[in-house]
Assembly symmetry: C2
């Protein structure tokens, strides 16, 4: 197929909405009415609480279209919202998408974005039920809001960790940050010499961590099957240190974190070293990994201790015992958040 | 009090979130947890369906900060979302707010915006339960998503109008559009000569229609008290003609609209004439009035016929009878949508 370009003006706003609507097929029986009216209608689910969250991604702040494929971006916009529902121990059900695009975008570009949105909807079994599409004079903006459900007694907050709880994290850390550094480096090389091809071979894993992160719904389903309800949980968007401190401070407890327990993928480690960045700093302060950070009671440890994708990285202690990192050589250093400062 | 300016960087992202959180006091008992976790938690309400909608406002597209007071803008961002819930016959309950601001904004500016958001939350009894705050390199973006509730048998869609139904509209039409023309005119005058003071006295009503529109929840509550459930409903955002055609085409019916029944406020009328714009065109095609357009069965007419703020502007007919406007001199002209084209 040749690369087609259809101007958005050829479709018009309502044409674009109909196009999006026709491709949104619901997964959930309680999705009574999706796109096409003033609001989506969702059947009430007995004995459940409704979870609601929103996240906005802006061009030039959260993504750079010079190296971000649009399907990946659409996928990410959904995944980061699903991740917020996962972090409450909930099951995501419906999303609405607010989209602002300039007329430099073609219909094919919007289709590519929605291809990723739909792929994420399929992976996480969520229904696209509505949205708002408008023009932008200043870059692409994607705002997704998500509804999820959870049994009232199982909702996991971030402020309920207790001393002696074990601190757990899924997957590995720092990959999204190192992936971003690679993309930025190759962009600089390309801008200085457009004949240079970017050197991205062998970096697929960390690039995917940055460009197309996964929400860890797999872990939520597994914990549910194992009968493990964490005592507190948050998803890693700001960076491990910052998010550990969120749990500790909001729970009114202290925390000990062990440097030698931090899960770092070998590609993340090696690439960080190549680029003269400290891999541990990447793991502690690199954001956007969208892994789950949670605490469990010691009584639940047996149920999860052999899980291949959960690392046990520390423990919760009394507030008076402080918040510290135990380094590889056994020193205790104060835990500091160096997450992203947006302003 | 002197005009203070506190840099956003002095608060930081989390400081800003805490500031917003501390000022968000819930109205609804089912709001179990609001701002401060990965997602809001909303208690499930027996026998109700959940409504979900989202709307995004962008600087330079939907508003011009040179004449838009920030509290009005915050109010409007909530009101346009509440209006979508009203248009489903629902009761709005919770909102989440996504906000992207550049660092040229001060903390006081964000406070002013949230003053308006809170005023709307108070007026419509909705709870601000979460959000996402980020930086923007390109102007202010506000994305609001709203949850509402409605009894399953009372949800009003836009595609269920039936022949012989009476077409009704609340309030008056065209004011928001004429208000915008006044603001744009005065901006041009000011830009050509900054010593000129804008001539806005006496135009308060139409300026408010543009800058701080109301959602017609009052009408929804009254219709509920009267026991009137419309057969179809939509809120007027694109313009009367466009929204009448939405109802007609999605319902598979025709419609007759009477020019002499269109409610036009005298200030709207007079200002349009002063500016050499046709007031009827403003009423038909000016957008953003956020009034409710709905159809009722003839049997319900007695219950609402004396309502001071509802006008009866036409009727629904078989699709084969067409979509037309009956002009003041009795001519039938084809009804055309000339709403906003974003792209």
């Amino acid at each position: 197929m040749e690369n087609q370009r259809t101007e958005l003006s050829a479709l018009g706003e309502f044409g674009l909405i109909r196009r999006i609507q026709s491709q949104a097929v619901p997964h959930n029986p309680e999705t009574i009415r999706g796109i096409g009216d003033d609001a989506a209608v969702i059947g009430h689910a007995d004995g459940q609480q409704v979870l609601l969250s929103t996240d906005m991604l802006l061009e030039g702040v959260h993504f750079d279209l010079s190296y971000t494929p649009l399907p990946h971006l659409g996928y990410k916009a959904v995944a980061v919202n699903v991740s917020d529902i996962a972090a409450m121990y909930g099951i995501p059900k419906q999303i609405v998408v607010g989209l602002a695009v300039s007329n430099r975008f073609s219909v094919e570009a919007i289709d590519a974005l929605y291809t990723g949105i739909r792929a994420a909807c399929d992976d996480y079994k969520v229904d696209l039920v509505g949205g708002d599409t408008t023009s932008s004079r200043a870059g692409l903006v994607i705002s997704v809001s998500v509804i999820g459900l959870c049994e009232p007694e199982k909702v996991v907050y971030r402020n309920t960790a207790k001393p002696t709880d074990i601190l757990c994290v899924t997957g590995d850390l720092g990959g999204a940050y190192v992936g971003l550094q690679v993309l930025e480096r190759e962009k600089q090389v390309f801008m200085q010499d457009p004949d240079m091809q970017p050197e991205l071979t062998g970096k697929e894993y960390i690039l995917q961590r940055q460009l197309r992160p996964s929400a860890r719904m797999d872990i939520i389903h597994e914990l549910r099957e194992l009968g493990v309800v964490p005592t507190a949980m948050i998803d890693l968007s700001d960076g491990l240190a910052s998010d550990v401190l969120h749990i500790a401070r909001q729970s009114g407890v202290g925390v000990a974190l062990f440097e030698d327990k931090l899960p770092i993928d070998s590609m993340t480690y090696q690439t960080a070293v190549e680029m003269n960045i400290d891999p541990v700093t990447c793991a502690l302060n690199g954001g956007e990994d969208y892994e789950l950070l949670f605490t469990i009671r010691q009584a639940d440890f047996e149920k999860v201790k052999n899980h291949a994708d959960i690392s046990f990285i520390g423990y919760i202690q009394e507030a008076s015992a402080g918040e510290f990192l135990v380094t590889k050589n056994g020193n205790r250093v104060s835990l500091q958040a160096q997450g992203w400062t947006h302003f």
